[in-house]
Structure formats: C-alpha cells, structure tokens
C-alpha cells in the first residue's frame, strides 16, 4: 500500500531535520513514503483564528490531492498539520453537503476515507516490530516524552492515545532502551503559534516544561511536533531568561532518537540543526 507524505510548511522550512530524520528512518526500515505532489499549506493556527471557511478549505485541498494521487493513507509528521487535516476530514464527514460542495470547487475526489497517520502511528505500524533486531546503540538515557496538545486533542476526533498522560511515545522510547520519566507536562501547551507575536508567553509556558523535565532528571525532551520543538529549542534564550537559569536539555525528535539507536548517522538525522546541542547522544 502506497503511503503519502505530507511534510507541511514547517518541515519544509524551519524544521528540515524532522523531515530528514523521518525519511531516513523510513528508508532504514524499507519504506518510502511518497510526497504528495503540489501540496499546499493546511492553514495552521492562522486560518482557524481568522477565517473559519478557509480553515476547512485549505486542509480539504490537501486531502483531495492525496486521494487524487491514489493514496489511501498519508503520513503527517507535523502534529499541527495532523490535527488540522484530521479535524477537517471529521467535520466534512459530518456534512455531506459541505463535502460535496468542496469536492466540486476543488474538482477532485473527497471521499473522506483517507487514513491520516501521525508519526507515532506510522512508527507503530511499520517500524516498531522490527526495532529490536535493528538496534545498534541503545538509547540509554532518561527522557521526558512531550506530546503537546495537538497529537492527542480533541480525543473525540483523533481517537489517538489518551488525552491525559498519553503513553505511545513512552512505549516507543522504551523499545530503544530509554527510560521515560513520569512528569506533569506531557500535554501542557508550549505557547504554540505565539512564538513571534507573544514571545513572552512562549518563554513562560515552554519554560515550565523545560524546568520540570530538567528537575526530574531527564537528559532530553523527546517531541513529535515541529512547533513544540522550535518553541522549546530555538526559544531557549528567552526561556532561560524567564527561568533565570541556564538550561541545557536538548529537544530531540522521536525520529532522530530512534534513528540514532538503529545506527543512522547524525548528519542524516540532521542533529546538528538543533539549537540546543545534543552532544551526549
């Protein structure tokens, strides 16, 4: 079965290491997700903040393109895109009228039956079983698995993991030899799209996350969302000045962590692109 790949704007711009490591990991396990040709932006937070119709139409174009190009399932590593695409498909399935109208505007099929996989679901389905036999260097570190908001909420739509204290990432990390810590900030908001417009809010919210992870002895924060990653990583100078302490815990994508364990090179995984260096990994 052909799996489509929707990188979305973040993976295509500010977080190339997430795309790189996802594709490198897939390749190591013999899978080649195919990029959806001519994909466009899902609208992200901006669209549903300003314009409800746009917030449906933009993701709908992506869903329709995927269907037209013959994919029955797509991998969407960005948690924000995964959320927007899933919420839109769910909404359109609730209104046949709207779905048909959009299919007509788009002049593409829109059956509403696409399987939309986030990165954990993808790894669970295609990679997890074979991880054990491929491990070269166990990832023997204490880690804080940070899920953020958009992977697990709203649960009624996404039906993925559980909205409080989710476990899927912890289970995958344990498979590569890591010790996931128990902590309170797994699904607390990092400040999301306020990175530029309200950097102070991001410093504060992300600061609490970095602080709790650090204090509980985690050596790395593991993430599956480019927005969370860049808030926790690129905004570290702001975070540190909010916390009034120098923190050094790196923020590593789950695809990079598993990639390292199965022996993919640091370069291929884009580890040097992290702002807070992941030296000890």
């Amino acid at each position: 079965m052909k799996t489509g790949f929707y990188p979305g704007c973040s993976l295509n711009g500010t977080s190339p290491e997430y795309a790189q490591s996802t594709l490198a990991l897939s390749k190591a396990f013999g899978i080649t997700p195919v990029e959806i040709s001519d994909w466009s932006c899902c609208g992200a937070t901006a669209a549903h903040n300003l314009n409800h119709e746009l917030a449906v139409a933009l993701p709908a174009r992506v869903l329709a393109l995927a269907e037209q190009q013959g994919f029955s399932q797509i991998l969407v590593p960005c948690a924000a895109c995964y959320n927007r695409l899933s919420v839109t498909q769910h909404a359109l399935n609730g209104s046949e009228e709207q779905r048909n109208a959009l299919a007509k505007t788009l002049q593409m099929p829109l059956s509403g039956k696409l399987r939309i996989l986030n990165v954990m679901q993808f790894i669970e389905e295609f990679i997890a079983e074979k991880i054990a036999e491929k491990i070269v260097t166990p990832f023997a570190h204490k880690v804080a698995c940070y899920y953020g908001c958009l992977l697990v909420r709203p649960h009624s739509v996404l039906q993925f993991d559980r909205p409080e204290d989710p476990q899927s990432m912890d289970a995958l990390m344990a498979k590569i030899g890591a010790t996931p810590i128990s902590w309170g900030y797994k699904t607390e908001c990092c400040g999301a799209g306020f990175s530029i417009s309200r950097t102070d809010v991001v410093a504060k919210l992300s600061g609490k996350i970095v602080k709790d992870a650090t204090e509980r002895g985690a050596e790395a924060i593991i993430v599956a969302c480019p927005m969370c990653q860049s808030n926790l990583d690129m905004r570290r100078p702001h975070i540190d000045s909010y916390l009034k302490m120098k923190t050094s815990i790196p923020v590593i994508y789950i695809t990079q962590a598993i990639g390292l364990a199965v022996g993919i090179s640091r370069k291929e995984l884009g580890l040097e692109k992290l702002f807070v260096p992941a030296k000890n990994f």
Binding site: S40, N51, R61, T105, C149, R153, I196, L205
Partner: protein, 177 residues
C-alpha cells in the same frame, strides 16, 4: 427580553454550543495554560456569554482572552459538560474582527496571523521570510526577533526563495469571501 434571547441563540446557531449548559465549575480555567495571561479566564468568558447582555458580549469581543486562546483543547477535554470553548473562541474572534473591536494589546497576534495567511494566499505555502517581513511591516517592530535569524540561516532553517504551488490560483480563490 427579545434581545436577551437572541444573543445566546445566535451563538448556538453559529457554533452549535449552548452556553447555558456551563455550570461554572471552573475546571476549564484551572487547566488553561494561558489563563494567567488572559484578562478573563475561560469560565468567566462563559459566564459573560450566559448573562446574555449586549454589554458583556461586547466585553468578550474586546478582550485579550479570545486572542490568547491557543486552541490547545485542554478545556474541552476536561469540561464535564464537554463545552467546546475553543470553537466559541473562534467565533468570538471572527465577530471581533467583523466589528473591529480587536483588543489593542492583541493587535500583534492578529498581525501575525494575517501575515501568515498573506504568504499562503500568494504562493500556496508558507514563506517564512515573507511572513516575518509582512509581520514587521504590519507591526513596525523592525528590530524584534532578528537575533535568531542568522543562526536559522546557518542551520538551513530559513529558505530564502519562496516555493510556488501550481494550484495556487485555486488556493487564492479560497481567500475571497
């Protein structure tokens, strides 16, 4: 009285949310990560809508809270009545834009969203440099945030050439009302 009825039913018609089902337990505010930065906590916004007075409604439309809501969905996940506050916030934002009552201290947030969408409108995808330039032009905050740009460039995290989607004409059409 007739006006009273109108407000809550208007909200319900537009969003599907019946604000009167909220019994003010406060769980939404307790869990809201943005609560501390808001002028009215989410449960208070709910209460203001319940009062049904035009004055309170107007206050919500002028609040910072509606712009600071990050749509993190924590409130609805924990609300015993499963009240869709994030959907209400979307609605209140739309009304505030329409009525031009955007909170003064939240204009930067709106400017950011607008600059983001402008970029998508013309190319079909986000173009970060264009986004930042557009945002700065809208907010006149020319020097803010330039500190991360050089490192981003160095790490290949800031592409300088916009990508154009072939289907961008259609994408642009979505933006027309």
């Amino acid at each position: 009285m007739s006006e009273k009825k109108e407000l809550t039913s208007e909200i319900r018609a537009a969003t599907g949310v019946n604000v009167n089902r909220c019994y003010q337990c406060g769980k939404c505010s307790a869990g809201c990560a943005l609560n501390e930065s808001m002028d009215y906590p989410p449960s208070v916004v709910m209460r203001m809508l319940q009062t049904n007075s035009a004055e309170s409604f107007d206050k919500t439309l002028r609040s910072q809270s509606i712009w600071l809501c990050a749509s993190c969905q924590c409130c609805i996940a924990r609300c015993p009545m499963q009240i869709d506050i994030p959907r209400l916030m979307d609605y209140l934002r739309a009304r505030a834009l329409e009525k031009k009552t955007v909170n003064r201290n939240s204009k930067k947030i709106v400017a950011f969203h607008r600059a983001f969408l402008d970029s998508v409108k013309y190319t079909g995808r986000l173009y970060e440099v264009g986004l930042v330039v557009g945002y700065k032009a809208r907010t006149l905050s020319l020097l803010q945030d330039l500190s991360v740009a050089p490192r981003m460039l160095m790490k290949g995290k800031l592409p300088l050439i916009p990508e154009r989607v072939k289907g961008r004409k259609l994408v642009k059409k979505f933006f027309q009302p």
